[in-house]
Symmetry: C2
Subunit: 254 residues, 2 copies
């Protein structure tokens, strides 16, 4: 997470740390205590299901993009990231099973949103694939880190662990910068592409939020420590700002 912005609610732990010092409500509880509330439990199952399918879809996307790689070394690098995403998927799936949920059932509600996103944003070349991996990962990571601060300690630890950098960012930034240096016109094309990715990601997220009651209720404050609606708005602003800064750092006007 490159944004230095923090959630405005000072009573909460900062969004980018696992520390529970000063945490209140759910954030100060472990899973067993927090899950006694059926609505909280349902929200976490949704969250883990969404993350799990996201990792599986990311695995497929990266494996597919590996085919566009210009060299064997680049291909191996993307395959490595894909494999890392798969191991994240395994942890989330195992956690769902551990808390007595059927992983497939938990993932199903999110399949069409992720598949829709990937279908609408199939990269046409290697650089578009890299920008997509970078943008998609960064946005997802920002979002889940914001949510993580509102979770019980056990779930928070898992969510932060699977968001651990798989090396995408550094690799993508280096390759994209080099391509823009070599041919500045590439920058214009990729900037348009990044804008399209952000638009599509927002539109799919809105669909998910509209469809999933428990998850949305947690986000808009129906559960202890949830955001209120204004806070959700601020969260989206922070994520968009962080995206803009990342694109500028990459040499792309967002």
């Amino acid at each position: 997470m490159t944004s230095s912005d923090k959630p405005g609610n000072a009573a909460e732990a900062p969004a980018d740390t696992t520390g529970t010092a000063g945490a209140t409500g759910v954030a100060a509880q472990d899973w067993t205590t927090a899950a006694a509330d059926p609505q909280y439990r349902a929200a976490v199952v949704d969250l883990l299901g969404a993350l799990a399918y996201g990792e599986l879809a990311a695995f497929e996307r990266l494996a597919e993009d590996a085919k566009l790689a210009p060299t064997l070394a680049d291909k191996a690098e993307l395959a490595k990231m894909a494999s890392a995403e798969f191991h994240h998927f395994e942890r989330l799936r195992d956690r769902l099973a551990e808390i007595g949920e059927e992983p497939t059932a938990a993932m199903e509600p999110f399949v069409s949103a992720y598949d829709g996103f990937h279908k609408q944003t199939a990269p046409s070349d290697w650089l578009e694939g890299l920008v997509k991996a970078y943008v998609g990962d960064s946005i997802a990571s920002d979002f889940y880190r914001e949510v993580a601060a509102r979770l019980d300690s056990d779930t928070r630890e898992l969510v932060l662990a699977v968001l651990d950098d798989t090396g995408h960012a550094g690799f993508a930034v280096e390759k994209v910068r080099a391509a823009i240096d070599a041919d500045p016109r590439v920058g214009g094309r990729l900037a348009l592409w990044a804008r399209r990715l952000m638009g599509e990601a927002l539109s799919q997220s809105q669909r998910v939020v509209a469809d999933r009651d428990a998850l949305s209720t947690m986000l808009v404050g129906g559960v202890a420590d949830g955001f209120d609606l204004a806070e959700v708005g601020r969260m989206f602003s922070r994520i968009t700002e962080a995206h803009t800064k990342r694109m500028a750092a990459l040499g792309l006007a967002a």
Copy 2:
């Protein structure tokens, strides 16, 4: 390896064990001793390069086939196999680097044969993909195990480790059998498919053997403990027989 046939040369270690008891020549030596012969060294670099690219190509193929999976659980199973192939690739690539070879350079000569094979045999549905994974893996595994018995102890150990079953076989057999039980006509179509796979695999292997001097020389006896030409013929017979038996066990006439 389901074949119970063993290489005819009784002085050699059986093809499917790591034991060096009774091994002679190169098979009784470690890498440092054996690699003093530049021709042997070149043959092993070829072999590791071919295996490494084969694993990377298998990763891509399985990730691609995961998209054809009828259920999320099937998709996850294929993604798991793909990830296992990737880790095998990593071990082979690291070994090439360890012995001072550039992994990419070692793999390059084999790219067109593997890519050609996969291009000629793109599965048109989930079952064809499963049969391909099973047949391709089994043939490759049989071949490398035959070769492994002729290798120095360090290289042999690595080759046998990366041939370790990644769970393909059991999974594919179970799914294909169930599909044939449900609709026996499926068996006829898949039997034709398996025959085409075997034909294409043989034709690509022949191209590789014709192109790569060091590797072929090791196979046909130019290096201590290599096969002689008649032995190569017997090896191909054993591999074809094992294939035929596997297809019969699967309910497919080969």
